[in-house]
Amino acid sequence: MNVLVLGGSGFVGQVIVKKLLAQEAFMPIVASRGPSPVKGVRTVAINALDRAQLARAVSDVGCVVNCVTGSKQTIMETSESLVSVLLNTPHKPKLIHMSTMSVYGNQEGLVTESTGLEPNIGWYGEAKIAAERAFERYADQGGSLYILRPGCIYGPGSQLWTDRVGKLLSSRRLGDLAEAGDGWSNLVHVDDVANATLHCLQALDDHGLNRFNLSAPDSPRWNRYFHDFAMALEATPLRYLSSKAVLVETKLVAPPIKVMERVFSKFRVRAEWLPESMPPSLVRLWGQHIKLDSRRIDRVFNFRWTSYSDGVNESAEYFKARFGRD
């Protein structure tokens, strides 16, 4: 089966493509305007907003995996474009949409897949909710739709939850945050996200809408992750940040870094040398007691998760090889 992976050159998309490549039953096709990031994979150069191009690309695939990310506009327009194309295909390919836990907004406590969505923590959550709503139309009209809502995807290559956290820990700007870091991390290893995608692809008697939260059952609270990752990186002694120190990071340090990132981005200048920032939205997440209930995917697919300790150790090895130690 041909599988079109939109956003296949991104962090999660690449891992999914590699996973598919290792399966005889599936032939991944990466939708990308550049060369394929994964060797030996067919690439189609399409603009996902161009419905004619997209229709041609999906005409011979049995499944579309949507890993598109970007701005609010990109996410929303891509989903609208994709759903309108799929609705007009005669063969109704399966659609697997990579959503996010951000769709649950600022809710706390245990959230299951049937918990209501809350567009109240910024544009990303809003865009992802809009995308889910758009794709639900496809399921309503007979399409097979899988929505995956991963927590924080970590592991080798994760810019947000491995690279950024590792850099902040190594520079001792991050550590234990006490109650401000007591929220659940909802970490999910990128391999588990790819495996979940594969399970959805392999599901035979599927129809309609299926939603799955993705958060490893042993993923700890953020303070524990910071502790364990710092120990694995030998970024010791672990720092303990007071609320005042966090305030300095979010109010004084983060804004100029963000401004510089945007300026450099506007002029298409690489700015990897800029230090990591801790914006208020990030700190808010670390203190949010939201726990994704992932038991549904366990039940449906007898899912096997990467153990948290293996994931942390693997992430640390990757980080040390890539960035060295400060």
């Binding site: 406590g109 245990l110 006490a178 007591d182 002694p237 720092r239 120190a245």
Partner: protein, 563 residues
């Protein structure tokens, strides 16, 4: 959910599966672990967030010898978080020897072994944010961390024993959000337990009688009840609940309130090291996980047994603060500022007799003549203590002269005559007040003295220094402040024999099928260690026990809905 009892109606009964009295060091973690295990939990707390003088005054009582024991409303905090709101954060597990029956120590021996608590010590370390459960400097600290006393190798002394320091964590502040969110848990503040009401035959608790400060009476009914209040209040509640059994709950054999122990603590001796100044490393180390740790000096277990002494620990300490001849501006600052320091911490700063205005002037001179030292100390204290999330635990001075005293912290011999009793007076809610008659024994003093002698002998043998003790004033020096405040132990001791104990090895009150006690009150002996870590470990073990017992009795637990 956290609510205040002011909203409860007169005569209302609150039902739950587990009812815990006391939201302190053990109560909060136990409540969260019970809830996590699927139990419906009601956590009752007399106090509110923060100190309230009217509520705190419910702790008032009398002390037989005020020179030997602090007032009854000090060192204890009747509030959400309990005494963790003001504690110093020192975490040390009890030692294996503490659990043994020692023929030379009256009433010693626990009904459980050290190993039975090990997994719970690990969890208690987590709850109290004290880092890894590793109390040996050789493995807990980064390789290359200097020894405390370079070259002191001894088969008689253990010099790598560590104490770790909590943030210090106020458990209510730290875990408040968890308490608010857990769907299986209700926390009720302003709910004073004024009586444990037993069934007619006294074999089980029927309900707890509760009252708000305003006088609204209501009840809590559960399957299992856990008293998780301090070592003094435990005895008070058991003794005061005497409607069915006139001697009180669990007190058929007049054991409740007896065997009251604290710790033998004081600063003694003049210790002079002979080597270079940098051969002494008397301050705190920071472990890889960022925890302040400090080495102590104690006898090996073999040596304790050979000398037949109680378990005692020694720490290197600065010279007497009150004596301005130390010429140290920092110590003089502490002496003068003691009026601004909280009672519980200031009380031990007055370590001698004051001698008038001239005496104060000498201290002022010390500050004036060493202004840089004093300013540097103030700056570091502000940075590492006042403004820090993890606070530097205590005052440590730079070693400039190789001169120290020794801080002794020792186990007490359990003594049935050292006791808490009820008086005729009652508090605002009608509960009898207590009297504290704390006593120590000659063995307590001689154990400290013998321990110090071993250290003195080893210093002499190795040529590393000299320890001088004023024999004539040793007991007076050691007992200058009386019982070590805040460590209230032994008033509802564990044991297999109901004639000499109050609770069994699973903390269940003898003869009462559904009443448990998770408190330092249940310690049969006091160890050299501070009690908080061990009392929490016992409480967490109790959660496991009740969970297992409930499974055995085929009570179906709901799946965890962890938040």
């Amino acid at each position: 959910m956290i609510k205040n009892a002011a909203d409860i109606r007169e005569g209302e009964t609150l039902d739950s599966e587990v009812v815990i009295v006391g939201a302190g060091a053990a109560g909060i973690p136990m409540a969260l672990e019970f809830a996590e295990a699927g139990f419906q939990v009601l956590l009752l707390e007399s106090g509110e967030p923060g100190q309230n003088d009217e509520i705190q005054s419910l702790y008032s009582g009398t002390v037989t010898d005020q020179a030997l024991h602090n007032p009854t409303d000090t060192y204890r905090q009747r509030r959400l978080g309990g005494t963790t709101a003001i504690w110093g954060g020192r975490c040390v597990p009890f030692d294996p020897i503490d659990f043994e029956k020692r023929p030379y120590l009256n009433y010693s021996g626990w009904p459980i072994k050290f190993e039975q608590l090990t997994p719970f010590f690990e969890k208690a370390n987590d709850w109290l944010e004290a880092g890894a459960y590793d109390y040996d400097a050789r493995t807990a600290l980064t390789p290359g961390t200097p020894e405390q006393i370079k070259g002191l190798e001894s088969v008689r002394l253990h010099t790598n024993s560590l104490e770790r320091f909590s943030r210090p964590t106020d458990l209510y502040i730290r875990y408040k959000r968890r308490l608010e969110l857990h769907p299986n848990l209700r926390v009720l503040s302003g709910a004073n337990c004024i009586g444990i009401r037993l069934s007619e035959q006294g074999g089980q608790v029927e309900h707890l009688e509760l009252s708000t400060l305003a006088g609204t009476k209501f009840f809590a009914k559960g399957i299992n009840y856990v008293l998780s209040v301090g070592g003094i209040e435990t005895a008070r509640l058991l003794l005061a609940s005497n409607d069915v059994n006139p001697s009180g709950v669990g007190n058929d054999h007049d054991v409740v309130g007896r065997f009251y122990q604290c710790h033998i603590a004081g600063n003694v001796g003049k210790l002079t090291f002979s080597g270079p100044i940098d051969s002494i490393h008397h301050g705190y180390d920071v472990s890889p996980e960022g925890i302040y740790c400090r080495r102590r000096i104690m006898l090996t277990e073999l040596e304790q047994k050979r000398l037949a002494v109680n378990n005692v620990v020694l720490r290197l300490h600065f010279p007497k603060i009150i004596d301005p001849s130390h010429k140290n501006g920092v110590l003089s600052s502490l002496f003068i500022l003691k009026w601004f320091i909280r009672y519980e911490y200031a009380v031990r700063l007055k370590d001698g007799n004051e001698q008038g205005i001239l005496h104060y002037l000498k201290h002022v001179m010390n500050i004036v003549t060493t202004p840089l030292d004093t300013l540097a100390f103030a700056f570091n204290w502000l940075r590492k203590r006042s403004l820090a999330s993890r606070k530097f635990p205590s005052v440590i001075l730079t070693n400039k002269s190789n001169l120290f005293s020794l801080e002794v912290h020792g186990e007490q011999e359990p003594n049935p005559e050292s006791r808490i009793t009820l008086t005729g007076d009652k508090d605002a809610l009608g509960v009898p007040k207590i009297n504290i008659d704390w006593r120590y024994t000659k063995n307590d003093i001689s154990s400290a003295r013998k321990t110090l002698q071993v250290f003195a002998d080893e210093l002499e043998r190795t040529g590393l220094g000299k320890l001088e003790i004023d024999e004539g004033r040793f007991e007076e020096e050691l007992m200058r402040f009386g019982a070590y405040g805040g460590h209230h132990i032994g008033t509802a001791r564990m044991g297999v024999d109901p004639e000499t104990s109050v609770v069994d090895e699973n903390l269940k009150v003898h003869g009462v099928s559904n009443l448990y006690i998770a408190s330092s009150a249940v310690f049969p002996t006091s160890s050299q260690a501070n009690p908080t870590l061990t009392l929490l470990a016992l409480g967490l073990r109790l959660v496991g026990h009740i969970t297992l017992k409930s499974k055995d009795s085929a009570v179906q637990r709901r799946p965890s809905a962890s938040v």
